[in-house]
Subunit: 466 residues, 2 copies
């Protein structure tokens, strides 16, 4: 955690308010409840409500809102579903939150090209619901039913990134409103291009600090002919992690390979009323042709058996698979339920796969020696894992202990050639870690921010220091 | 072609020369032959020799060279193997070429993490030779034995991008010397990261206009258990293209799927002394397990048969496959050999796959109605295809006709939602097309360039207008 104090604020003047009202009418709000709702994310971070919330319905409207903000030098905070985890939506300097959750149109679908263009407020579940009868799906799945604009902004990934990549690989193009209100389109619908600077990848993961994403063009995939899923407990966590490492090194194209430690399995059993073994466990999913899925499953089962995997429990019916993955996705809430009234401090790191076992084992040793409860889950096929410190944020000693553990885990990941966050992003919670990781390149990111946003109005106080 | 005139040059003073000599000794050259060699690429573009060539051996040395250039505001042109196609190495404003072809060290290999770090001058063939006994390979294959630094700079791809992606997807991190001589590291070895701006993807494809890439960290892949390749002629080109479209839409993970039109097949037969049918032809390669490869081949053969594919000729022995792909890669030289003494104007576009047949057919109709010879080849699985206008650049009417055809082809691709270049890059040859394609985003690219390189010394006159 970065101890964030109240920051200098730019006042929302009556003049600016009148301009917003003229543009949006009832869709501009300064009510306490609306502001509160838009100031807090799903984590332990202190809420920072904005001074006003503008509900946009189109790119043109976002542009008009941004122009008013630019004129008055008001900070702008983009908001999709509020499911970010590192304080990305906190209005540290006040200003206006632009809520795009009303931008829910699917603008264009080309089944024959496996791509789609959506407004930024469309969520991943809404998109997959829309695609239901087409034989296509959008795979990226960060757990929360996040907006696709928010997912692009934070370079989201999740359980099946090991096969399908992250938002970095699956965004083909964007419509972006720049800090001066100009609208640009980046990328396009061609599968590859050597035409100029890759502005798409620059905005993906920039967390609203360079512009607001209003439309997203995404890659889609054919629903595989065959899907099967399985759960396999292990004698110890090293055996589970070694199974993952060997699976990835063998080039087996698993669609999902998730680790839950024994603490998390206990939480999942209690929360989702299941009776899995309370042991380090891998959750698998295989996609392909019937023969391909069988072949992958055989190869992985052989690797698991050599590493102390005790038994594969298969889920081949869609409803059983849904139940299995729902239990996995509820992991965060299951962790919190271990201690009623507690809050979660979720964090993640990502390391080269050869260092994954060491990183996880050393981290678990640290936790065992501390007073905190901290279940571990991981998208381990990517070398990425998560902890949730289950804490009472009002107890300074617990916050200090969580900070100590977190600092040590990030330092460990960086020393192993890893990154301070595989998928949660920087927000304001991990800015110091980004500086440690990027070195001189952190200064270059600041230069870039200043070039795009000289008045520092786009989500100020996040990602980079200006 | 952009008609490029002599540009204002910054003189290489005796003072600057003395500084380069003090730093590099014999490795700084102003000899006519060396300068000529570094001023011309493999295309029809007019050569523009630099005023001096600096042969660098390390990142620190590149940084020192750049600092001298920055002090004297001398243009800098990075040079790998000189195999670019859009004038990327032309010293339009004079200045100093930094030749990194001597930076040939493999700095680190982690077989267990499937990654490697190399100096920028290592070529793709050198890397694969080095990997020979590890069971790993680096797939990206633009035809030429280009340097990996150059391939990163131009966002190269090639025949198997359809399965393995382009340099965009396969560069994990970079070491870059900025226009002021500072050295930064971008990205890292973690498979995914949500940590800050994606500087790696910003430098990949920036063609040396934002900084010089001196080291590249790359993804590697396990050599597949089974590989098979085949050649299949078609009754007509639409049948061949429809086979590609249906293969991609079915999600069959072909490793290569290349189209050669009947003109190109005739050239290949003559140049490589082969006796393939002179008909539109697809070259395939399949990678996977033994069973997987068989399954893919069966599915593709069924699709081809439905679309007028007459017969698959299989090449399962490695030496036969090498011969097949060598013939494909020699396509450019084969095209030139159709008209002794002629030069090639190679060009490429990329469109959404559903528009590929229309784009190719309309383009071939245009060529048929012109006086020029222009064989067509394509990485058609990506929607990407190439033409080579076989011309005499000294005949203005031929240049004008090639320009007319090229303008029409690019306009056609853009109208179909495609891009003006799938893999050759912008250089100075396609800057006007990039402007048409990117619209307002072209201005943003210029802003970015100015922020990184306020004195416009990094490969000036390429990609963006400043």
């Amino acid at each position: 955690m970065t101890a964030v104090q109240a920051q200098p604020r730019v006042a929302l003047t009556d003049e600016a308010k009148a301009e917003f009202k003229a543009l949006l009418g009832e869709r501009f709000s300064t009510s306490g409840a609306v502001r509160e709702h838009h100031g807090k994310d799903e984590s332990y971070h202190t809420p920072f409500p904005p001074d006003g919330v503008a509900f946009a319905t189109s790119t043109a409207e976002v542009s008009a809102i941004v122009k008013i903000c630019a004129k008055h030098k008001l900070p702008i905070i983009p908001f999709g579903t509020g499911t970010s985890l590192e304080g990305g939506i906190a209005a540290l300097h006040g200003g206006v939150c632009i809520d795009v959750s009303g931008m829910k149109e699917i603008l264009r679908l080309s089944p024959e090209d496996l791509d789609v263009t959506v407004q930024a407020g469309v969520t991943r579940k809404q998109l997959n619901e829309y695609l239901r009868d087409t034989g296509l799906f959008f795979p990226i799945d960060p757990g929360a039913d996040a907006s696709l604009g928010g997912m692009a902004s934070t370079r989201a990934s999740g359980t099946n990134a090991v096969r399908y990549g992250t938002m970095r690989e699956n965004v083909l193009g964007l419509t972006v409103v720049l800090p001066d209100g100009r609208v640009i389109k980046t990328g396009g619908r061609a599968r590859k291009s050597a035409a100029g600077y890759d502005l798409t990848r620059l905005f993906v993961g920039s967390e609203g600090t360079l512009g607001i994403i209003t439309e997203v063009t995404l890659r889609l995939y054919g629903i595989p002919e065959a899907v099967s899923a399985a759960v396999c407990p292990f004698k110890d966590i090293r055996g589970a992690v070694d199974t993952v490492i060997q699976t990835i090194q063998s080039g087996i194209p698993v669609a999902r390979i998730e680790l839950l430690d024994e603490v998390q399995m206990d939480a999942v059993n209690k929360y989702s009323k299941l009776d899995y073994a309370v042991a380090p466990t891998l959750f698998f999913e295989f996609h392909g042709t019937q023969r391909g899925v069988e072949e992958q499953a055989e190869m992985v089962a052989a690797i698991a058996a050599e590493n102390g995997g005790t038994e594969f429990a298969w889920a081949t019916r869609p409803e059983d698979r849904s139940k299995l993955w729902q239990a996995r996705h509820d992991g965060y809430y299951a962790a919190l339920a271990l201690r009623p009234g507690a809050k979660g401090w979720p964090t993640d790191v990502c390391v080269p796969i050869s260092r994954l076992a060491d990183c996880i084992l050393e981290t678990k040793r640290d936790i065992a020696q501390s007073s905190l409860l901290a279940p571990l889950v991981g998208h381990v096929g990517d070398g990425n894992f998560h902890l949730v410190y289950v804490i009472d944020p009002d107890k300074p000693e617990e916050m200090a202990e969580a900070k100590r553990l977190n600092d040590r885990m990030v330092a460990r990941a960086l020393a192993m050639g890893g990154t301070c966050t595989g998928e949660h992003g920087i927000g304001y919670g991990k800015m110091e870690f980004l500086e440690q990781e990027a070195g001189e390149a952190f200064a270059v990111m600041g230069d870039l921010k200043r070039a795009f946003d000289p008045d520092n109005i786009m989500n100020p106080g996040k990602v980079v220091r200006v």
